[in-house]
């Protein structure tokens, strides 16, 4: 399934990091400088340390390092289309080429300015530099590749967990719905039919990709189907007020973000109250960010009734929002004495 590249971090399939980022540039500068120090320390065993020498070495190494990442940054567009092995070899080749060119330029400028006149020969200078560059860039690329593999493993693991969590429609809801349908089949066949259709749509959504982004309008459609089933079961005990006019219908959010929250509001709230109650859902738009708040009445936390944790569903949704949009998107839960309040925060993005 093709998805928004910006939103879907899991689509990142190339092992080469983005060399254009300011953090990456900074890291490269620091590492290059450390390399300059190492070379200075090794080559000045038989003579005094010289700051001039460090300056020249630094200049030379920084030139190679920064030119390499500049070229890698620009050519990333093409590199990501290749497979990992080929992209790796080409990057390696780019670094070696840059080393060759910079060494050549350095040789000519240094000899013409009279610095390092004790260089043995042109070829010797170039070959030494290429040797150092070949070894170090091979080590670096290998390191980046291993790091990438580890990250991929972690993401695959997280994704599997999300899938496992999302596929789980609460069994309590499933069996109660089945019971409702069994009760309706004889007395109200049309309602039974509608309930089967609603239940099927909810199951289909729960089997879809956990990171799939859907529009608010689509998610609300699922919510309405869910509420329809619960309304059959709970009757007058369940009432809901909606005020989502501020939320654009086309805004994107991960599938099954709102439905489980309403399920929680009913399972942990309305169902515990003999007279039932009203769930309030309202949305606000603050600049580029959207807030959807769900408030439901619930038993006070110190009541004798044991309240089972609903932490898993909440954490799952929070995690999925953060994976899709990064922080500060997410979910906050506030439990007051006789009501629970859940707030979903996500950026306003539309499908491109």
């Amino acid at each position: 399934m093709e998805q928004d590249n910006e939103n879907d971090v899991l689509n990142e399939t190339i092992f080469l990091p983005d060399f254009c980022g300011i953090r990456m540039v900074l890291t490269v500068v620091v590492v290059a400088e450390l390399l300059a120090f190492v070379i200075l320390l090794m080559t000045s065993i038989d003579r005094p340390m010289s700051w001039d020498r460090l300056g020249v070495l630094s200049l030379f190494i920084q030139w190679i390092a920064l030119s390499s990442i500049a070229i890698l940054c620009v050519s990333r567009k093409w590199l990501i289309r290749l497979n990992d092995t080929l992209a790796g070899y080409i990057s390696y080749f780019i670094v070696l080429m840059v080393t060759l060119v910079v060494s050549e330029l350095a040789y000519w400028s240094m000899t013409s300015m009279g610095i390092f006149d004790n260089l043995r020969s042109h070829v010797d200078f170039i070959l030494r530099n290429l040797g150092i560059s070949a070894i170090l860039s091979a080590i670096t690329l290998r390191f980046i590749y291993l790091q990438y593999q580890q990250k991929m493993h972690m993401q695959a693991h997280a994704n599997a967990r999300i899938q496992a969590l999302q596929a789980r429609i609460r069994p309590h809801f499933l069996f109660n719905s089945m019971n409702t349908i069994a009760a309706l089949i004889r007395s109200q066949p049309e309602n039974a039919e509608a309930a089967v259709e609603d239940l099927s749509d909810l199951f289909r959504a729960s089997l879809s990709n956990a990171q799939q982004l859907v529009s608010v309008a689509d998610e609300m459609e699922l919510v309405r189907r869910y509420i329809h089933i619960e309304q059959l079961r709970l009757g007058e005990r369940l009432s809901i007020s909606w005020s989502l006019d501020d939320i654009p219908d086309a805004a994107l959010l991960p599938v099954l973000t709102l439905q489980p929250l309403l399920e929680n509001a009913i399972y942990h709230g309305i169902e515990h109250l003999p007279e039932g109650g009203e769930i309030k859902v309202f949305g606000q738009r603050k600049g580029g960010w959207l807030n959807i708040v769900i408030i439901n009445p619930c038993l006070p936390p110190d009541s004798a009734r044991r309240s089972q944790g609903n932490k898993m569903a909440v954490r799952n949704i929070d995690e999925r929002l953060q994976i899709a949009f990064g922080k500060p998107a997410g979910l906050t839960v506030l439990r007051e004495t006789d009501q629970c309040r859940v707030e979903v925060v996500f950026p306003y993005q539309e499908k491109k």
């Binding site: 069996f175 019971n179 309706l184 709970l234 169902e271 515990h272 110190d302 009541s303």
Partner: protein, 243 residues
Amino acid sequence: MNILITDDEALARGRLRTLVEELGHTVVGEAGHGEQALQLCETLQPDTILLDIRMPGMDGIETARHLMVLDNPPAIIFVTAFDQHALQAFETSAVDYLLKPIRRERLEESLNKTGRLNRVQLAQVSDEQQLSRSHICTRSRNRITLVPVSKIIYFMADQKYISVVSAEGEVLIEESLKSLEEEFHESFIRVHRNALVAKSYIVSMEKSSGGGHYLVLKGTDNTLEVSRRHVPSARKIIKSLGG
């Protein structure tokens, strides 16, 4: 056979009624919650009660425990859509239960067995799930009285009985203070060999002229003596309540 149906969902009650009547039994009443079920059991004297577990207020398991105070309690068959903990407890204590949506054959089988539950089985079910009751139930002059645990100010042991003091008055129950302490340890503390007090009703601890300590409580003019060895824990509670 006379049957009482208890479920908080009207559709679920309707289906059960259809099934029970198709099997040739009589539905004498329908209750929407536990308290109502207790009252109807008293007046209608059903032979069997079909009791949903998950209900608002008093749940099915607690309702069953309170039913035990009746002279002639009905046979109890639990009904549930899905409750892993309860099902495990039922299996280990051999309690009969039905799963929603209920099959007619299974219902018939259970109605024909009509094994009566006993207190031991029910206590076992509650213990395994670490459930604490929401009400204390007692019978006086053949009437069931339910006292919500949240309204109880203190329990006071007095020889054979325990007096349960709430804002609404005082009733006597036959239980042990020790088991009450274990069941309600989250909301009550022991302040004396013979007294268990609701934390939320404690106002302050005062020193008496004789050098002992006593508690001032909300909702009652009575004060309660605190024995020396319970003074530190009482002080800690008062501090944590911000008083």
